[in-house]
């Protein structure tokens, strides 16, 4: 299942409806919904916020992966950005050293069970799997 979404946070409502329909159709374990929704939102918001050189829609693809889900987000006509290379957030820092922002991709790395990145012909494609097989952190 795939669908394109405009570069606006207002699209999050449509994205949630899209994943909800996929989970129902494929009878995916509902306990994975929050993880999928969070990872999709964080990656989508990151693309919309930082890839300002394009006005093309973001493509989201959902497919079954065993008992879980494989999700890909593709941003077209953008520079390379591998989220796996982002420096980790120091979540043990005291309050005075913490600043809002920066947690989104960190949470994706923590919560997704696997992440793959591909950059080809100026298309940036991030794929993650949520199947509940990641060891506890």
């Amino acid at each position: 299942m795939h669908r394109s979404f405009g570069r606006s946070f207002d699209e999050l409502k449509r994205i949630v409806a899209f994943t909800e329909a996929f989970f129902a159709e494929e009878r995916i374990d509902p306990s994975l919904r929050n993880i999928v929704d969070l990872c999709v939102e964080e990656l989508f918001v990151n693309m919309v916020t930082y890839n300002l050189e394009t006005d093309q829609d973001v493509l989201i693809e959902l497919s079954r992966h065993g008992n879980g889900v494989q999700v890909s987000l593709t941003d077209f006509n953008v520079e390379r950005f591998d989220p796996r290379q982002v420096a980790p957030v120091d979540v043990s820092a005291p309050l005075e050293e913490r600043t809002p922002g920066g947690l989104g991709l960190y949470l994706v790395m923590k919560m997704a069970d696997a992440i793959h990145y591909e950059y080809r012909d100026r298309s940036s494609k991030i794929t993650f799997i949520a199947d509940g097989n990641k060891p506890d952190v």
Binding site: L12, N34, E41, E42, L95, R98, P100
Partner: protein
């Protein structure tokens, strides 16, 4: 659907999905809170990093005034996100099912 308001016991009650689209509305509301703040999360279904940013910004502002934010009735899933984010070290958090 997201909503935020003051409940009958004077607590801030947030419900629904606190995502990047709703974070500005939550921030605008919490920016008007002047004293210590208890946020009831019993009906909060979902929070993303944008919502975490709202909580952190509010907590830092109130802590600087000698107050702070207390989070109550936090579901297991949202508590996991707080733990991953290190918020369990920064906030007074009470899990759902524990009466204060």
């Amino acid at each position: 659907m997201f909503d935020i308001g003051i409940d009958e016991s004077g607590r801030v009650a947030i419900s629904g999905r606190l995502d990047a689209a709703q974070a500005p509305r939550a921030q605008e509301f919490l920016d008007r809170v002047a004293d210590s703040c208890v946020i009831d999360m019993s009906h909060l279904e979902y929070i993303s990093s944008a919502g975490l940013g709202v909580l952190l910004r509010t907590h830092k502002r109130l802590m600087a005034q000698g107050n702070g934010v207390r989070l109550i009735n936090v579901s297991a899933h949202i508590n996991d996100i707080f733990t991953y984010s290190g918020f369990d070290r920064l906030f007074d958090i009470e899990a759902a099912g524990i009466e204060s």
